[in-house]
Symmetry: C2
């Protein structure tokens, strides 16, 4: 069984590197630090290497121990968490490739199985939830610190328990975490509720110019390069905007354009019921999931808008 192999490889490794996907979210950082804390508790030497990560997760235990790089040339064991493809490991794929043994733990259905051992469960709402069974198998106790990391991944990847990916086990495990003193309410507030003043301002701009087209079935808005520069926006600051349009009654598809530094637009699509926005984005060389997809379009605003809307219209009922 794969969990036997994973346990054995972890037990025999003297130095372990933990890696995750680029532009890491709560599940990426939460699972990395949970595994780090668990390995540390069992006396293992491990490094978590993440070159860039958002400050919003600074409340997590072991956050200060994340490394931006490592001088280690060859790890005994590399463990990739929450990452579907070796390409998404980005600048630090070499640590993975150079390691003697490679393990992949993930919940993306699109995982390319790029490890020697791949423990991938697309039915799990978060990689953090998969780690629970790993820890249980290995006999590692989930204490408050590890639990805080795991809860963070579960909360962010389920939109605060709202997605249909949430299973009875997710709620049962969260109940156990509460019993162990993990402050679910505080984590929720930090990772999903509070936004920075910059995020507020850019949301205000985007909402202010949001249009509802095709009898209110399409919501459309955008932000310019100039606005992003003037406000000194960072990665992730525009997140949440496309969902505002999606969550208005009657809207089937929400489209949000973000002008890129090099020109052109990154388009984010969300749909509610029946439009497969991944198909729409495929027409522009992009892709994603049926209800959340994206593409890049190298045209001026009005032309980009016209093309994307015309294509989307064809899928409306």
């Amino acid at each position: 069984m794969i969990l036997d192999n994973i346990t054995e490889e972890i037990n025999k490794a003297n130095n372990i590197v933990i890696l995750t996907h680029e532009t890491p979210d709560g599940d990426a950082i939460g699972s990395s630090l949970a595994l780090y804390g668990a390995l540390k508790a069992t006396g293992k030497k491990a490094d978590v290497i993440i070159p860039e990560y958002p400050q919003v997760f600074s409340f997590l235990p072991w956050y200060e121990e994340i490394k931006k790089e490592s001088k280690e040339e060859k790890y005994d064991l590399a463990i990739s968490l929450d990452c579907s493809d070796i390409k998404r490991l980005n600048g630090f794929a070499e640590y993975f490739e150079n390691a003697k043994t490679k393990i992949v733990i993930d919940h993306h259905g699109s995982n390319t199985m790029f490890g020697d051992y791949n423990y991938v469960n697309p039915n799990s709402p978060a990689t953090c939830e998969i780690l629970i069974s790993v820890f249980e198998y290995m006999g590692i106790e989930v204490n408050k610190g590890i639990g805080t990391c795991l809860a963070t991944g579960i909360i962010t990847d389920t939109g605060g328990f709202r997605h249909s990916t949430v299973k009875p086990e997710t709620f049962e495990f969260t109940a156990e975490l509460l019993n162990k003193g993990v402050n679910i309410s505080s984590i929720y507030r930090r990772v999903l509720q509070i936004i920075s003043m910059k995020q507020f301002e850019i949301r205000r701009i985007a909402l202010n110019r949001m249009e509802f087209l095709e009898d209110g079935k399409i919501a459309f808005t955008y932000i310019t390069k100039q606005e992003q520069e003037e406000m000194n926006l960072q990665t992730g600051d525009h997140e949440g905007i496309v969902e505002f349009g999606r969550d208005v009654e009657g809207v089937e598809v929400s489209i949000f354009l973000r002008e890129l530094p090099e020109g052109g637009y990154k388009a984010s699509f969300r749909s509610n019921e029946y439009v497969n926005v991944s198909d729409v984005c495929l027409m522009f060389g992009g892709g994603g999931h049926p209800k959340a997809a994206g593409c890049t379009i190298l045209l001026p605003l009005e032309q980009a808008k016209e093309k994307l809307i015309s294509q989307t219209k064809m899928y409306l009922k």
Copy 2:
């Protein structure tokens, strides 16, 4: 034990009326319909009387069976759910007062214990969660229909499992509901996520003029009588606006003014960490909870704003 009395009274009653508080929310309607469904399942004759209620809950089982009034002059048993005070039963308090026996089931700490039997638990995040123990005690099985009603109350009163009132039992019970086929994700979406076009428009207006005062510690915004009339806003359409200000980093107090049809303003206050907004509102004849309170102020906008802000400032660190 009180649950013995409640069981006995329900068993011996031939006709039962279920009542809840005015401007009913998800926990009020959810608990009323859950109890209605449960009584019906045990062959009891019951009426749920609610004169006005939001359409957003129309997906609930037995929603069509809610009555706006009743010709019954005297019920054997009246059960008040989720209501802290007989005054809040509003126009239908007479059904309660005229009943032979009166039961109060609630989770408000401020409950005035106005029944013959009062089953009140302020530690419970929702009246729906209290009903679980009632049903269990009475041996009534929580099926998918009853579960859908209970989940609705829990989801709305906990802000989607985010409040610190949520207990391990809340998550454990939700896990059971999922196992019974209750669609938690769909309920969440209907009651917390989707907003109407009118709600979107009024949010946009209020956000557009939101100001951040006192080094960003106070968020302030308002909507006018004219805006509400032009958009034909209904009760509840302005909900959520005050929380936008509260959830911006650095804000301690968020204030939202809604002009009243008769002139003057209804002020809603929310705080994050240390300001007791109930104390602030008390100065203007209002009140509420430490982190959520309100008052009415009969002054023109600029004067109302000035007075409320000056008072709030005194509580800032």
